[in-house]
């Protein structure tokens, strides 16, 4: 499932099927109304965010409740640079990414000495502090009012005015994000992160600088979050502190655990389902929230390793026979 084997024996299941699924969702969205386009767009943005979060929580096994802080940095960075200073959106996105990475490194250095619940608390505070700053720093962020007039994504004079064009770009950025995450995971760097998740004592004994690699994973997650924030700003054209509030943390955690933490496609599956579910259930009116919660709980009961874990079961059934003969020579 998640073993970082370089010789991927099952590229059909790990690459071809998921990419085809993503592209068909994109296809459905493009042939639908504007509202579906917006929803799928949000799902793609959250897919980027959760893929980053998965780096820190899934692969490295650390808890962060404060990644929304870096989404806010990316969002406000892009919004301010493009709306107020007329920067190119791509340049603004890249600069925000770097800024978020640097701030993550500076904040993470002392914070990541904490473990478990303490780390969770400290990172949660990080999100709250960023939220307060985005409210209070009026001259820069316009407080509760938020920033509007953010241009859509584009390079130079070429702007993606239509929402559908933007969705295509968002989907490809998301796929690029997944591709990068797989490449990082299946390497010496990724193996060190998974070693830390598995046992810090053993990681130490193998010469892995645990503190440094935790920080690196935190920075990677922050950069993903920043990109997600920037994309959101351009996609919606408006941001306010609430966008990057605590609800973002809850939503992304739901996505991550529903889809499958520590898996490649889990964050994407989770992002899609959690984005669409409330809309699918809209017809139920006042029962909507109840059914939503029941569905979430049911998924977590029957697929405790997330929905992408179910896909693994299916895959095992398909290849089970050949594998077993291979194991008993």
């Amino acid at each position: 499932m998640t073993s970082p084997n370089i010789t991927s024996t099952n590229t059909v299941y790990t690459v071809a099927v998921p990419v085809a699924a993503v592209l068909s969702v994109l296809g459905i969205a493009l042939s639908s109304s504007g509202y579906v386009v917006t929803l799928i767009g949000f799902a793609a943005i959250y897919g980027v965010f959760c893929t980053g979060l998965n780096f820190f929580m899934g692969y490295t096994g650390q808890a962060s409740f404060g990644q929304n802080a870096f989404a806010a940095l990316g969002g406000y960075g892009s919004a301010i640079l493009t709306a107020n200073y007329y920067w190119d959106p791509v340049l603004a996105l890249l600069v925000s990414m770097v800024l978020s990475g640097v701030i993550a490194a500076a904040v993470g250095y002392p914070t990541l000495r904490l473990r478990g619940h303490y780390l969770a608390m400290a990172t949660f505070a990080l999100g709250l502090i960023t939220y307060e700053i985005s409210i209070e720093w009026n001259s820069l962020t316009q407080g509760y009012m938020g920033l509007s007039g953010i241009p859509p994504l584009g390079i130079g004079k070429y702007e993606l005015v239509s929402e559908k064009h933007q969705l295509i770009v968002l989907t490809f950025v998301m796929l690029l994000g997944v591709w990068v995450s797989v490449r990082l995971r299946d390497s010496r760097f990724g193996r060190a992160l998974r070693a830390i998740a598995g046992s810090e004592a053993a990681a130490n004994a193998l010469g892995i600088n645990v503190a440094r690699y935790k920080l690196a994973a935190f920075v990677v997650a922050a950069i993903y979050a920043s990109v997600a924030g920037s994309l959101f700003a351009h996609f919606v054209g408006f941001i306010s502190p609430e966008v990057f509030g605590a609800s973002m943390v809850i939503l992304s955690f739901t996505m991550l655990y529903l889809g499958g933490v520590g898996t490649t496609w889990g964050p994407i599956i989770g992002a899609l389902i959690v984005s669409l579910l409330p809309e699918v259930l809209r017809g139920l009116k006042e029962m909507q929230d109840v059914v939503y919660s029941v569905v979430l709980i049911a998924i977590l009961i029957f697929a405790p390793r997330g929905l992408s874990g179910l896909a693994v079961l299916f895959q095992r059934k398909q290849t089970g026979e050949s594998k077993q003969t291979g194991m008993n020579p």
């Binding site: 010496r188 998974r194 130490n204």
Partner: protein
């Protein structure tokens, strides 16, 4: 040449003296063992040697270099690699992936290399993959290479931990009670692996309860009791040592700390 030199290592926990001025040397390529009754301070000594804990006083030299006070990962990076009394495998990863992780010390490359995958990186990955297969054969885990580590029987988990440590190409391998909880066949398989490792020129120090194993494979034995070194010598010398006999038969082993 001396690969490991422990000099006057003392560790105090409040009023308790866990290690009291312990000194011994391990020559290059030697297979040594530290034995002693429960609570004698063996694991504490191991933690000091591997850098997991700083001693109250005393020094540890590894290949002539002072390593006392260095963080554990730096000690490991120098080629002193340990295993733990309770197996510390990466449970969710396959057996093969566990071994691949072990190459960290002897490979290079970070985020950028992983992303760009230059030629040297791909060659390095290929070397890791090839060497992993060799190690799987070396410890006899090839048949279970794709299983998740915690699905293995305990004996094989031990072998996997040793294989993973070997991936780091240590010049000194510390094994903390490697035979604990193993049955006779598993212990024999482990003894065989340890001896083959040692024959490749890797110095090995093990802390062990299994006397039979120690007497069978160790070339030098250090005995500690109540934190003090009471004897040091060949298996034959140790067997005949009056203080060792007293420590083991004198009824003190009930005094756990």
């Amino acid at each position: 040449m001396t690969v490991l030199s422990v000099k006057d290592v003392t560790v105090r926990f409040g009023g308790l003296v866990a290690n009291d001025a312990i000194s011994f040397d391990v020559a290059q390529g030697m297979l040594a063992a530290v034995i002693g009754p429960n609570g004698a301070g063996k694991t504490t000594l191991f933690n000091v040697i591997s850098g997991a804990m700083a001693p109250t006083s005393g020094t540890v030299h590894f290949n002539g270099e002072l390593i006392t006070g260095l963080p554990q990962y730096e000690v490991s990076q120098k080629g002193l690699v340990r295993t733990y009394q309770l197996v510390q495998l990466f449970k969710d990863l396959s057996v093969r992936a566990n071994i691949m992780t072990g190459f960290h010390r002897v490979t290079k490359g970070g985020v950028l290399a992983a992303l760009l995958r230059p030629r040297w990186f791909r060659e390095q990955e290929a070397r890791i993959a090839a060497r992993t297969e060799e190690l799987l054969d070396f410890v006899g885990l090839r048949a279970v290479a794709d299983m998740e580590a915690d699905k293995l029987p305990y004996g094989q988990q031990r072998l996997l931990e040793v294989a993973r440590a070997l991936a780091a190409e240590p010049s000194l391998l510390l094994l903390d009670e490697p035979a604990a909880g193993l049955n006779m066949q598993e212990t024999a398989a482990l003894a065989d692996v340890i001896q083959r490792v040692n024959r490749q020129g890797v110095a090995v120090v093990l802390v062990e309860h299994d006397m039979q194993l120690v007497m069978q494979i160790a070339q030098k034995i250090v005995v500690i009791d109540f934190g003090r070194k009471i004897a040091e010598g060949s298996p034959a010398e140790i067997k005949a040592h009056p203080e060792v006999i007293a420590a083991y038969l004198g009824g003190t082993e009930g005094l756990d700390d």
